[in-house]
């Protein structure tokens, strides 16, 4: 079933891609092929392979239980928050929280998770920023 859904999604993707490709405005100065042809070829392959996947599905993959999916969803949310808050809160604080969260969800005890979070954050800050001179996000406190 997963492969059938995947195949249909792939075909829809190909269709959307074709529509977007046809909407490309061509410049008056164009080569013999133009900017549309290659995307259309790709779309054909995309659609064809999706159709094959839908009609000849592989055995069902093992999807995680709902609880684990929620877990992954939560991690994605945390990562997005991390990306958005990085310039606001500064590198060290944002990273400590994000790393501690991941460590906690991977099964660390709370204290260990806090320790991993702070350790990762400060470790990366020292190695990448102080030693190697990589510019990291600066928060209101300058780190």
């Amino acid at each position: 079933m997963s492969d059938r859904i995947f195949g249909v999604v792939g075909m829809l993707l190909a269709l959307g891609y074709v529509l977007a490709a046809l909407a490309i405005e061509e410049s008056f100065l164009s080569d013999a092929v133009g900017p549309k042809a290659f995307p259309l070829i790709i779309a054909a392959i995309l659609g064809l392979s999706s159709a094959v996947i839908a009609f000849r599905p592989d055995p069902e993959p093992k999807w995680p239980a709902l609880g684990r999916l929620v877990e992954i969803g939560a991690a994605i949310v945390v990562m997005i928050l991390y990306a958005e808050l990085l310039p606001v809160a500064g590198f060290v604080i944002a990273t400590a929280f994000a790393a501690a969260y991941l460590a906690w969800r991977l099964g660390s005890a709370l204290l260990e998770a806090v320790f991993v979070g702070i350790g990762t954050s400060i470790g990366i800050y020292v190695i990448f920023h102080l030693v190697l001179g990589l510019s990291l996000a600066r928060g209101p406190w300058g780190f």
């Binding site: 100065l29 999706s50 969800r105 190697l132």
Partner: protein
Amino acid sequence: METLANLGDGFAIALTWQNLLLALLGCFLGTIMGALPGLGPSNGVAILIPLAFTLGLGATPSLILLTSVYYGAMYGGRISSILLNIPGDEPAMMTCLDGHPMAKKGMAGEALSLSGVASFVGAFFATWGLILLAPQLVKIALLFGPAEYFALFALAFMTLGGVSSTNQAKSAFAAALGLGLATIGVDTQTGVPRFTFGEVHLYDGLDFLVAIVGLFALSEVFIFLEHRHGGSDAEGRKMEIGKLYPPISMLKQCMPTMLRTSFLGFLAGVLPGAGASLGSFISYSMEKRLVDKKGTFGTGDPRGVAAPEAGNNAAAGGALVPMLALGVPGSGTTAVLLAVLLALNITPGPLLFTQNPDVVWGLIAALFIANFMLLAMNIPMVGLFTRVLMIPSRVLMPIVAMVSFVGIYGISGSTFDLLVMIGFGVMGWVLRKLDVPLVPIILGTLLGNAMENNLRRAVTIDNGNWLTLIDSPLAITLWAIAIIGFILPLVIGARVKSGMHVRRDEEGSISD
């Protein structure tokens, strides 16, 4: 003779303190990454690219660092295969078969050092193979016009699909997806924006480094979260190493095996799309058929340890040949290395050898040096790396995730890129669940623009005649190989792959 002179120049470049230090660092990090299950050569190199990039390293030093990681990972993978019966990375899968039984017999130290020697032999001969074969390939590649290049790219995708997945349709899908992603951004020939949907950040196209780190490194974090696999695989197991040097008689017994499998592995590596996993697999299978008269393979035969290790290290060197000489990588990790070159504005291919000989020969010389460093690291100091296996993944994976974020943020300083990377991470996770190979996607995003430009150039030169693509004998040959490479696995591939899977099932613990 000219080759030797070039090689001498290469050594002059590689033997600076900075480059030696980078090679040493790369070997060390690579061995660790290879040893840790969950980090392999391709995602190991991927998370280090931003580092090399932001350090402001030039092309030669970055390549030295990253190929040392690549070679190191090939060495490191065997450690957890032998001690824990869990391959540290995919090519080390075959090493479990005889390596772990040897460790059970109390010969872990012998198995580790023997496989270290086998890795060295494989990598050493493969580097020579690279020196001898790459310039010949360059001579052929110089005859290529745009039409031939287009055919060559198609060949790379079609053969890669044949080997990397059990389902050809899914690898075709992956390749098309990657190529499609590459078309996002302003069209290089006419200057019109394509698939940008008015988003200014997309005018430059998607940064392939973002895609690589997301697909390879971040999706691994999701896999671990899914299984909540937070412990270390080494927990609660005794890891006795014992004697660290193999008896001379064992080395003698294994030497013919190593030489044969080095050659075979190198060939497997050169073939587009094959890579190290296939190299170690066919090496083991051939040796089993050839020398296993008493049926000792699988019960801790030293030759069964030497064969896959020599094979996968030789394949790693072999895979560099098409990457450097043609600009078409043959495996996942060489695709990542190609991304490094492209990010540094160096176009691999025949012209690389004439325009940037310092890069090529400096790299080759560094590979020789790195190989000796790895031998030294991996035999007397192997105990150090076995400790690394005790790091639980609940500590390791947050670090991997954060280093990925830092690297991407360090390059662009943009939140948008981080969000795109998370998107690729999620996509990578879903596609891995659906058994869609990720390497063709990467290859597609990397080669998409070059492929399209060559297509358009070829057709434009011939005034819009599309038949020009199959006009020259060279192009026809390439297309023929491509088609055979796509169809043949449908016939034979099933058999080879079922062999690989049967083995996996027998060794229940290997497949997660």
